[in-house]
């Protein structure tokens, strides 16, 4: 499964890297708006790539 890493900011910590798997995770949902947005970006990019691959095939 494709996966991405992204630095996600919190108020008290420095930005720390989070794994962003295409299928998502509870951890990303728990991160709230940022986690959902970043997951959607990775998921949409993955879906787009797949679609293009299918087209090319």
């Amino acid at each position: 499964m494709n996966e991405s890493k992204k630095n996600i900011r919190t108020n008290s910590d420095a930005a720390i890297p989070y794994d962003i798997p295409v299928e998502g995770s509870l951890g990303l949902l728990a991160l709230g708006a940022t986690g959902i947005k970043e997951w959607r970006k990775v998921r949409n990019a993955h879906n787009k790539r797949k679609l293009e691959e299918e087209k090319n095939d």
């Binding site: 108020n11 509870l26 940022t34």
Partner: protein
């Protein structure tokens, strides 16, 4: 604008002129319960909550009756009970009055904490509170409880209902932050259901339900975290209904396995509840980080949720029955600047949250709020300011205008969810009936809220009104009977119980006769089979509920007997019921109280211990143990049990009262005084605690000022402030108002000499009352039936130690000595009245008969002196809670002995023979007439 606003602004500025900000994040986890949380924390599976606890305070949060979440969360937000705030259930008629809709924030009649804070110049946000639709026009962002619900499948338009987001221009943005259940993948579901692959999803829809609950929870978190990251805030409220929903759906699969749950289902779904808690902890971690270390974070739940052997095996058939799975204690944790660290707090109720937040901001608490600030959680001394009411403070507070017209919105999904959770019945097609039903339920809930506030008279009126419409509904009749009981309308209560019990018994008999239909599974199709099975299940449930209702009626009946001092009749009922339900907690508690009433300490202990073996968290059972230990002289054990009881239910004044008594007996007078003071802080009407304090401050701690303060309380007739109903706990009663039962009273027959006191003593003796007399003074011509006195009574002014030996006996004490009766006992005084001229003449006759000096002169000075004595006696009785007095006219007794004897019997509340009493009245002895 109120002056507070200006003061607040000044207070917030530091010397350098910079704003010193207090920030409060209030997080609501519906139904969160320590019983589930504690093992998870011990296993290291809720690290965020663990850090919150370690950095602050934690404790139980007592819920309110009825434990319906929209009512409770509104009480949390307002600090007021439901009869004040106006939210009365799950659904309500819409503004046209023609249809029903989910309960809306427009029905809230008072300001929530965020409205008050906004009015005081703070920037406030609120996400998802229940109820909060339509979103209030706050100065920050306001997102209503209609936000997270997905009405259509993924891919179809998912519109936000109008009024969901304020300001409306932010609607598009927040719409995009929602998470649709259809987006979720196995990565999200498997942590809840590791064996999800075993689920036959054609027949079992539970995985879809989990996805829905998870998406809704994550959606609230999404909006909340966005605000915390991107907006300025002084106050932020976030409400999550996820734990409650997961628990209602899956608590029956939570370990240990319940008998009636199939093994394969248990194995599939046993991790769901744990998963829900763990996910909430992950979200909390993020929220805490975004809030930052300078914010005060308060996490609360509105009630708990039974997770162990106390999970009900069946629910009653009344609306909102799933609330029977709720436990009486929710959770509270608080951390932040000025909050104590790693400590436990006691006695918090959900009414205390709004007053606590006001105090954290240095704002006054409304006198019309029902809660109080949790000062025990604060470091140092915090000055608590008061204000009559925040409702009178003018200014923009972000509430909807009173005449706001509703935006029509499709609430069908929300209603469907409430039906799914079992909180409401499926609305029928008849809108009119639905509206009538919604109004009926809200009246019923209001009645229950009144009962929770101990406003039994108001509650009774409502249940009477409802009983006219639904005389066959047990829930209404039982509560009406309870109100009558609390209001001491015993005869009417018994009559109601008798009639309804007869009706229920007939119903039960009909059920027993009705044989279940034989089902030939070969001959009917699946749908028909399902219907028949459902019918049989309902029949069985009804039978169980009818039995339960009969038991509840018997419990009330037995308690009426206890109140009427007929403990043996009560005991008979309990024994009969215990034969059927030996492990019933309620029954054992009642049995224990009855044994206390009969002074059977050991048997009482056994009953309370049985109750504790069923529910080790029952505060009243611990309190019962404390009373038993105390009365047996085991003071240290009594202290332990009383402390256990207080830890579970801080607000019960009698836990503190008995703790005070136990400390007194081990000569820990400072602690005893503290305990009695707390008792009075909770309920100022418990005069007996005040008596203890008078004695402790005066005799033991050398603090006459404080003793005088409590003494003055009576003298200044503050009794008028006292509650009208008597207080009862575990069989020991304390009267607050006149003409009520006093526990173990000394029956005092008093009056001026020759006013008929000996005759009254004679009557009581004939009626069966034990007389406290030494027969030292023999009968003579003046009193041929005997004086029935005790020499000790004549020495009362010098020595009152003997008085406790006269408990439950009758003793004669002349009016002039009444004032020396010690406050540590209760007294039922029968005060004989006779015309003063007759009294003096009779005394003169007596002196003549005894050849005494002064017999020849009429003592004119005595007339005024006697008048003063009578007045003084009357005032003495009026100002003391431990004295109940009945005035009996001597001439009335002579003229109508039956009537007067009956009055005495009623006053004493004992089983005394009126006929026998009458026999003691000898009209011939009425020799001196005016």
């Amino acid at each position: 604008m109120h002056i507070i606003n200006e003061n607040w602004k000044k207070r917030r500025m530091t010397e350098s002129g910079e704003s010193k900000k207090r920030k409060v994040l209030l997080i609501g986890w519906d139904a969160a319960d320590w019983k589930v949380i504690n093992p998870l924390i011990e296993a290291g599976e809720m690290p965020a909550l663990e850090s919150l606890i370690n950095e602050g305070v934690m404790g139980n949060l007592a819920t309110l009756e009825p434990s319906f979440s929209p009512m409770l969360w509104t009480s949390i937000a307002t600090g007021k009970r439901a009869h004040k705030h106006g939210i009365l259930g799950f659904i309500e008629p819409d503004s046209s009055g023609l249809k029903v809709r989910p309960v809306s924030v427009v029905s809230r009649k008072v300001k929530a904490i965020w409205n008050i804070l906004m009015q005081e110049g703070m920037r406030v946000h609120n996400v998802g509170w229940w109820p909060s639709h339509p979103a209030e026009p706050l100065n920050g962002i306001s997102i209503s409880n209609a936000y997270q619900k997905a009405q259509r499948p993924l891919g179809q338009p998912w519109k936000l209902a109008r009024g969901t987001v304020h300001p409306p221009k932010m609607s598009r943005h927040f719409s995009s932050l929602r998470l649709h259940p259809g987006e979720l993948t196995p990565a999200h579901i498997l942590p809840f259901v590791p064996n999800a692959s075993k689920v036959d999803q054609d027949k079992d829809k539970r995985l879809t339900i989990i996805a829905k609950m998870l998406a809704e929870t994550a959606t609230i978190n999404s909006a909340g975290t966005w605000i915390l990251e991107n907006e300025e805030w002084d106050f932020m409220g976030m409400y999550f209904d996820g734990i409650d929903h997961f628990c209602h759906g899956f608590m029956n699969y939570h370990p240990p396995k319940m008998k009636n749950v199939a093994v394969e289902k248990f194995e599939i779904y046993q991790e769901v509840v744990k998963g829900a808690y763990k996910f909430h902890d992950m979200m909390l971690d993020r929220q805490l980080k975004l809030a930052g270390p300078d914010a005060t974070v308060i996490l609360v739940s509105d009630h708990g949720f039974h997770s162990d052997h106390l999970r009900p095996s069946f629910l009653s058939d009344e609306p909102a029955a799933p609330a029977q799975q709720h436990r009486s204690y929710g959770v509270i944790c608080m951390r932040g600047p000025g909050i104590r660290k790693d400590e436990r707090i006691y006695g918090a109720t959900l009414l205390d949250i709004a007053p606590t937040i006001l105090s954290l901001f240095g704002l006054p608490v409304g006198d019309d709020m029902d809660g109080r600030p949790l000062v025990q959680a604060f470091e140092g001394n915090t000055e608590i300011k008061r204000i009559e009411s925040w409702e009178k403070v003018e200014g923009d507070c972000g509430m909807h205008p009173a005449d706001r017209l509703e935006d029509p919105y499709d609430a069908s999904e929300e209603v469907a969810r409430l039906v799914e959770l079992g909180y409401i019945e499926e609305p029928g097609k008849d809108d009119k009936k639905n509206v009538e039903k919604a109004v009926f339920e809200s009246r019923y809930n209001l009645g229950r809220a009144y009962m929770g506030a101990k406003m039994f008279s108001e509650a009774k009126s409502i249940f009477e009104e409802l009983a006219k419409k639904a005389s066959d509904e047990s829930r209404i009749v039982l509560r009406l009977a309870s109100c009558k009981f609390e209001l001491r309308e015993f005869d009417s209560c018994l009559e109601l119980i008798k009639d309804f019990g007869k009706w229920l018994t007939n119903d039960l008999a009909e059920h027993k006769e009705k044989k279940p239909k034989e089902i030939d599974r070969e001959l009917i199709d699946d749908e028909e089979l399902r219907k028949l099975e459902e019918e049989q299940r309902k029949d069985k449930l009804r039978l169980l509920n009818t039995r339960k209702d009969l038991m509840s009626l018997d419990l009330i009946r037995a308690n009426v007997f206890l109140k009427k001092n007929q403990a043996s009749s009560a005991m008979q009922i309990f024994r009969k019921m215990l034969a059927v339900y030996p492990r019933s907690k309620q029954l054992n508690l009642n049995l224990g109280r009855t044994h206390i009433n009969l002074k059977n300490w050991e048997e009482a202990m056994r009953a309370f211990e049985t109750a504790l073996s069923v529910d080790p968290d029952d505060s009243s059972a611990y309190h019962g143990v404390a009373v038993c230990q105390l009365r047996q002289g085991n003071y240290y054990e009594a202290i332990d049990a009383a402390l256990e009881s207080i830890a579970l239910m801080y607000h019960s004044p009698f836990g503190h009262y008995h703790l005070g008594e136990a400390f007194y007996y081990i000569e820990e007078y400072v602690r005893a005084a503290e305990a009695f003071e707390v008792c009075l802080a909770i309920n100022p009407s418990i005069g007996k605690a005040r008596n203890w304090l008078v004695e402790i401050y005066e005799d033991k701690l050398g603090n006459p000022e404080k003793a005088q303060f409590h003494q003055d309380y009576f003298q200044e007739k503050k009794l008028t402030e006292m509650v009208s109903s008597d207080q009862k706990m575990n069989g020991e009663e304390y009267a607050n108002s006149k003409h009520v039962d006093l526990r173990d009273p000394v029956v005092v027959v008093s009056g001026l000499p020759r006013s008929g006191t000996s005759m009254m003593m004679q009557m009581l003796g004939e009626g069966g009352v034990d007389l406290f007399t030494d027969q030292e003074r023999k009968a003579d011509e003046s009193n041929p039936m005997g004086y029935l006195e005790h020499e000790a009574a004549k020495r009362l002014a010098r020595d009152a130690r003997w008085v406790k030996n006269a408990k439950n006996k009758a003793v004669k004490i002349i009016a002039n000595l009444l004032f020396y009766l010690p406050a540590s006992n209760n007294y039922k005084v029968i005060f004989m009245l006779r015309h003063i001229d007759e009294v003096i003449n009779s005394q003169q006759q007596m002196l003549i008969r005894n050849n005494k000096k002064g017999a020849k002169n009429y003592p004119t000075d005595l007339v005024e002196s006697y008048r003063r004595t009578l007045e003084k006696a009357r005032n003495w009785a009026k100002g003391r809670h431990y004295v109940d007095i009945l005035y009996v006219n001597y001439r009335d007794v002579i003229e109508d002995p039956r009537k007067e004897a009956s009055r005495v019997v009623e006053f004493l509340g004992r089983d005394i023979q009126v006929e026998s009493m009458m026999a003691a009245v000898d009209k011939k002895l009425y020799r001196t007439k005016n």
